[in-house]
Amino acid sequence: MVPKILYFMLSAGSLGLLVIDAPRGSLLTGSPESGKVERGPAGPGTTIRTPHYVFLGGFHGGK
């Protein structure tokens, strides 16, 4: 009886994962690095059309 229950639980669970989580890929994908950035200095003689950011990485305060 236990294997049958386990069979249904695993099958239904993984089907649920396909329905619910697959479109957003929260559980079965790699987690990208995330963190704060700050604007970097413009190089000499360069024309910056968009801001240049430097990744600081990690956790920089929760407040």
Binding site: L15, A22, P23, R24, G25, T29, G30, G35, R49, H52
Partner: protein
């Protein structure tokens, strides 16, 4: 009509249960099977006697053998449910040891004759070679032999497949029997199985002709026998599979087939809905610099605000060998200055080692990330390529959103098929063991 001699009595007079002695060794003998007994064999010396109608004995075969300790003792009483008629008290009034020898290997077993005055005789059989037990009685009727590629018999609409045949030789006798049986007797025995039932057909050839006996037995757990006869300790361990033991996996086959079919249909529908719902939309594609320096910066929109999505980044390096390239995509939320960084590498190495060519690495390189919040981002791409080996001529980077993730598709399929497949293998393994000791054992190829 002539008046001949008076007819012999249909029934023998009731045997007297008073004290009688073995005519050979003087050991006490008590008749317990009443009038149905044809032979009583002294437990101590093995001399076979025939009870006379007046209760006295006369010797059928004198013997002077040693007593063998059987797994259950003579005259032990127990309560067993045989054939579903409810728990009934049985007494072991006779026991025999028999064996079949095949290819020099002996397969011995012990047969216990159970008696109940209201229910008659039954058999309890203990296989000494593998420790399994059977219980049953005479077949009410005869099985019909079926001509087939696999020898079979048919009884009450059920097909019994042939399992083993051999010459069963009686090696030891003790107690009372409703027929005459002596050590050294041989019969031709044929077992047919239709789990959980087994029909044994025994043919004994005598001067008067052939005596054919049909017996039907079923497996019984050793622990059940031990408990029924209130034996101390534990029964001898079971080391094999009873020829007609029910296959435990067979009972689950129907369940797993139906469940797998239903789940497979559900999986297919879910997969179609999931795959059909993926936009797999290109967010950005372009060439990126070979050397790190000024990054590419551009505003992009990913997914829908408030929803999480998936992103696949691909880096393709052209003309590259024994070298690598790397790109880092930074998605910056300008309002919070929070960024998500996705790194992707393309590398390819090849050569010849010991006369054999080899290659490794992946070009293009892929990186998939999930749970990316939808919205507007400032995308900043940094890239560089190794100058060693044959460096890349150019690098192309593409970013796609809401991509199809096959891992989510195949994991349910693995679970849906795994259990039925496991049950099938378990069933096949059990059947292989069942038939391994039969006359139809699969021939295993021998490799030198």
């Amino acid at each position: 009509m002539t008046q001949g001699a008076p007819p012999s009595k249909l029934f023998r007079e009731e045997a007297k249960t008073g004290s009688v002695q073995c005519l050979a060794c003087g050991a006490p003998i008590t008749l317990r099977g009443f009038a149905g007994i044809e032979q009583v064999t002294c437990a101590f010396c093995g001399t076979a006697h025939e009870p006379e109608p007046d209760g006295s004995l006369h010797i059928l075969q004198q013997a002077a053998r040693q007593h063998r300790p059987s797994v259950l003792p003579l005259y032990q009483r127990g309560s067993l449910d045989i054939g579903g008629s409810g728990p009934t008290d049985w007494e072991i009034i006779g026991l025999t040891w028999r064996e079949i020898t095949k290819e020099g290997v002996s397969y011995p077993w012990q047969e216990f004759l159970l008696f109940n005055p209201y229910h008659g005789f039954r058999w309890l059989i203990y296989s000494m070679s593998d420790g399994v037990w059977s219980v049953g009685g005479p077949l009410p009727g005869a099985a019909k032999v079926v001509q087939n590629t696999w020898p079979s018999v048919e009884y009450k609409g059920e097909r019994y497949k042939h399992h083993t045949s051999g010459t069963a030789k009686t090696t030891y006798v003790e107690g009372e029997f409703p027929w005459q049986v002596k050590a050294g007797d041989s019969v031709s025995a044929n077992d047919y199985v239709c789990p959980p039932k087994l029909i044994s057909i025994e043919v004994q050839r005598t001067k008067a002709g052939a005596d054919v006996n049909f017996t039907q037995v079923q497996p019984i757990a050793a622990a059940a026998v031990w408990a029924a006869f209130r034996m101390p300790g534990s029964p001898p361990s079971e080391r094999g599979i009873h020829p007609s033991a029910p296959n435990p996996a067979a009972a689950n086959t129907r369940f797993y087939l139906l469940a797998a079919l239903a789940l497979f249909i559900l999986w297919a529908l879910t997969t179609v809905v999931y795959a059909g719902g993926r936009a797999n939309k290109e967010v950005w594609k372009g060439n990126v610099p070979l050397a790190s320096g000024a990054p590419i910066s551009q505003e992009v929109t990913i997914g829908e605000p408030g929803k999480l999505t998936t992103i696949e980044v691909e880096l393709q390096a052209t003309g590259m060998n024994n070298s690598w390239a790397y790109a880092e995509v930074m998605l910056i939320n300008p309002e919070t200055e929070e960024a998500t960084v996705i790194g992707v590498a393309a590398e390819y190495y090849s050569g010849v080692d010991g006369g054999e060519s080899w290659s490794e690495g992946s070009n293009p390189g892929h990186q998939i990330v999930g749970a990316v919040p939808g919205g507007k981002y400032l995308m900043q791409i940094n890239s560089e390529a190794d100058r060693g080996g044959d460096p890349a001529d150019s690098l192309t980077l593409s970013i796609r959103e809401d991509v199809l993730l096959l891992r989510y598709v195949f994991i349910p399929l693995v679970f849906i098929l795994l259990f039925p497949l496991g049950n099938f293998i378990r069933r096949a393994t059990f059947e292989k063991k069942r038939w391994a000791e039969s006359d139809h054992a699969p021939v295993e190829s021998e490799s030198d």
